[in-house]
Amino acid sequence: MTTKNNTAKQDNPVIELHVKNHPGVMSHITGLFARRAFNLEGILCGAMGDGRTSRMFLMVNEDKRLNQLIRELERLHDTICVTMRNDVHVDAFNPLHI
């Protein structure tokens, strides 16, 4: 997994995840991408409220496997909700902002 930004276009799809927050969640999620050799173009993640859940944004490239990936993300025990977003600007994932 890399988080390179330069290959991503303005209109890249972004997967928004609401998940339980514990140390293994990220591995569960990224594992589904890694086994398919499907690169994540950007990751943003942060805890919500009391820290029991997190919100995660994954910027990806258009791919015919996305629907299947989303269904498998939804199947994960730690996943509360998955939403596709097309209104997240690519700059949100720019590491130069940090």
Binding site: P23, G24, S27, H28, G31, R35, N67, Q68, R71, E72, E74, R75, L76, H77, D78
Partner: protein, 556 residues
């Protein structure tokens, strides 16, 4: 009350209804093994953790409830992996408990430390690394609930040693983890499915392990009979409809009957229930059921559309769907379609009674001796396919076989678990001389338990299915599939204190086989077979299912 983590684990397992656990102790599970002394749970000491995993699977495949296995950290956990992955691919409920080094030692490359959480992550339905003793009260019941709910699967619970030893104070025990009842399907989906079925002229039911998991075999049979729908089964679906039912088409796919695969080519509706369009079943997917509308029912939404686009899909429990579908279907007689199926079946090679030394002959003899509800386990290879094609399974949970992962070494330990879960009944394991050596050490466990398990080793001194594929698809260049050394399995059995017989050297092989399948305790049967025999029909890997290879007359 005050309890240690280890005591909490054993009590929660008891409250969960667990009566036996298979495993091997080690440094990181010593506290748990100490607590087991005070527990009512019976521990089965295996000789390899993979054996423990498959014993748990054997129990689970018989009962439908999660089997439990136990391994220590490091190599104990890595040895379990194959059995966990196998359970995942065949949707078998299982809870694997592994010891882990103490919390402060995690990540230091401590002795027998391995990242069990990371290793089991892609092969479990869910996994836990328990980080405090308090968490056990939540995690253990949840592990069972996850394993048994929805599409069943394995759950791994990794428990550091200090979590097991720490003592905590708490008020009450949590409720045991329960199977969560499946959601009701949408009535409009059921109506649409019924409409599709009612107007179909050439429908086929394509069913698999999901029917067994949903306990809806009799409803499935009713649906098939009242609407005259032929039924093709996956390997995991064998037993969901009796083999002698006129509507039964046998197994589809790579080693399915030619008539079955041809019938699927002609179908106008494929009603797929509790199946996942596995490549061994569908062959080249683009050419599978080319003229059929596809209706797919599966409890796992992520299976729907994964490989084949559907015309109608219902993500719901197979039992609920089939039960609600029954009153809406119109009892068509479909005489023309059944006539066509009969014509196709008539073109299959004629089956005659086989001689005793033929692989199909021994399957016939065993099925004649064993009762119709007897449990059969297999290993993986030619013998597995011969059993799947030829053994007359009539009930669900009577064929225990490694379908998805195709794990050689599955048969013996799974038979032990199955025999434990079906007291008083003899379990037969069909194996090969390649497969049996992959978990041969469990003969010692079998001897310990003195269970009525008969292992029949079809011995051709080869990895037969590999040899077959080298013969057929690699210009007969046989490489690394012939064994130089094959042990005397009957003598080997006796060194473990188990009865052993070689049907090739018995003066009366018939009565030797009958003896092996009766009496008390285990028995190992070495059955020499001709290594040139192939499994037919066979669809070459990657080919469409109608591109069937047929063998010579002697192969049937």
């Amino acid at each position: 009350m005050k309890r240690t983590g280890a005591q909490i684990i054993t009590t929660l397992l008891e409250r969960q209804g667990v009566t036996s656990i298979a495993g091997i102790p080690g440094g990181a599970t010593l506290p748990l093994y100490d607590a087991l002394i005070e527990s009512k749970i019976n521990h089965i000491l295996t000789r390899h953790e993979q054996g423990a995993g498959f014993i748990a699977q054997g129990q689970a495949r018989i009962t439908g409830k999660a089997g439990v296995c136990l391994a220590t950290s490091g190599p104990g956990a890595t040895n379990l992996l194959t059995a966990i992955a196998d359970a995942r691919l065949d949707s078998i409920p299982m809870v694997a408990i592994t010891g882990q080094v103490t919390l402060p030692m995690i990540g230091t490359d401590a002795f027998q430390e391995v990242d069990t959480y990371g290793l089991t992550l892609p092969i479990t339905k869910h996994n836990f690394l328990v980080r405090s003793t308090e968490e056990l009260l939540e995690v253990i019941p949840e592990a069972f609930s996850i394993a048994e709910s929805g599409r069943p699967g394995p759950v791994c619970v990794d428990i550091p040693k200090d979590v097991q030893t720490a003592e905590i104070e708490f008020d009450a025990w949590p409720e045991p983890g329960q199977k969560i009842p499946p959601m009701q399907p949408e009535p409009s989906d059921i109506e649409a499915l019924a409409a599709m079925l009612n107007k179909a002229e050439r429908p086929i039911l394509y069913v698999g392990g999901g029917i067994t998991a949903a306990h809806c075999c009799s409803e499935l049979q009713q649906l098939a009979r009242q609407n005259n729908i032929p039924v093709a089964c996956t390997l995991m679906g064998l037993g969901t409809i009796p083999a002698d039912d006129p509507l039964f088409l046998g197994m589809l796919g790579m080693h399915g009957s030619r008539s079955t695969n041809y019938a699927l080519q002609e179908a106008d509706l494929l009603l797929a229930i509790g199946v996942r369009f596995d490549d061994r079943a569908t062959g080249k997917l683009e050419e599978f059921c080319p003229d059929a509308a596809i209706a797919h029912v599966d409890i796992d939404r992520s299976e729907i559309g994964k490989l084949r686009a559907t015309n109608l899909s219902v993500a719901a429990d197979a039992g609920l769907v089939v039960r609600q579908l029954l009153p809406l279907t119109n009892r068509a007689n479909r005489a023309e379609w059944l006539q066509r199926i009969a014509e196709l079946k008539a073109m299959d090679p004629k089956m005659h009674r086989h001689e005793d030394t033929h692989p199909l002959g021994i399957i016939e003899r065993v099925s004649e001796i064993m009762g119709e509800g007897s449990v059969i386990t297999t290993d993986v290879g030619q013998h597995q396919m011969w059993v799947a094609q030829h053994y007359p399974f009539r009930k669900p949970r009577t064929l225990l076989t490694s379908g998805g992962l195709g794990t050689m070494g599955f048969g013996l330990p799974t038979a032990i678990g199955a025999a434990m879960a079906s007291p008083g009944k003899r379990v037969v394991c069909f194996s090969g001389d390649g497969s049996i050596l992959m978990n041969i050490q469990e003969l010692a466990t079998l001897a310990d338990l003195n269970l009525p398990v008969t292992v029949i080793i079809m011995n051709n001194h080869h990895l037969g299915l590999v040899r077959q594929q080298q013969e057929l698809f690699y210009g007969n260049r046989i490489n690394a599939s012939r064994f130089e050394t094959v042990p005397d399995f009957a003598a080997l059995a006796r060194t473990f204190g188990v009865r052993g017989t070689n049907l090739g050297s018995e003066t009366d092989p018939k009565s030797a086989l009958a003896d092996a399948l009766s009496g008390s305790g285990p028995c190992i049967v070495d059955m020499p077979i001709d290594h040139v025999r192939n499994v037919y029909p066979m669809v070459p890997p990657g080919a469409a299912n109608y591109q069937t290879l047929e063998g010579a007359a002697h192969d049937y």
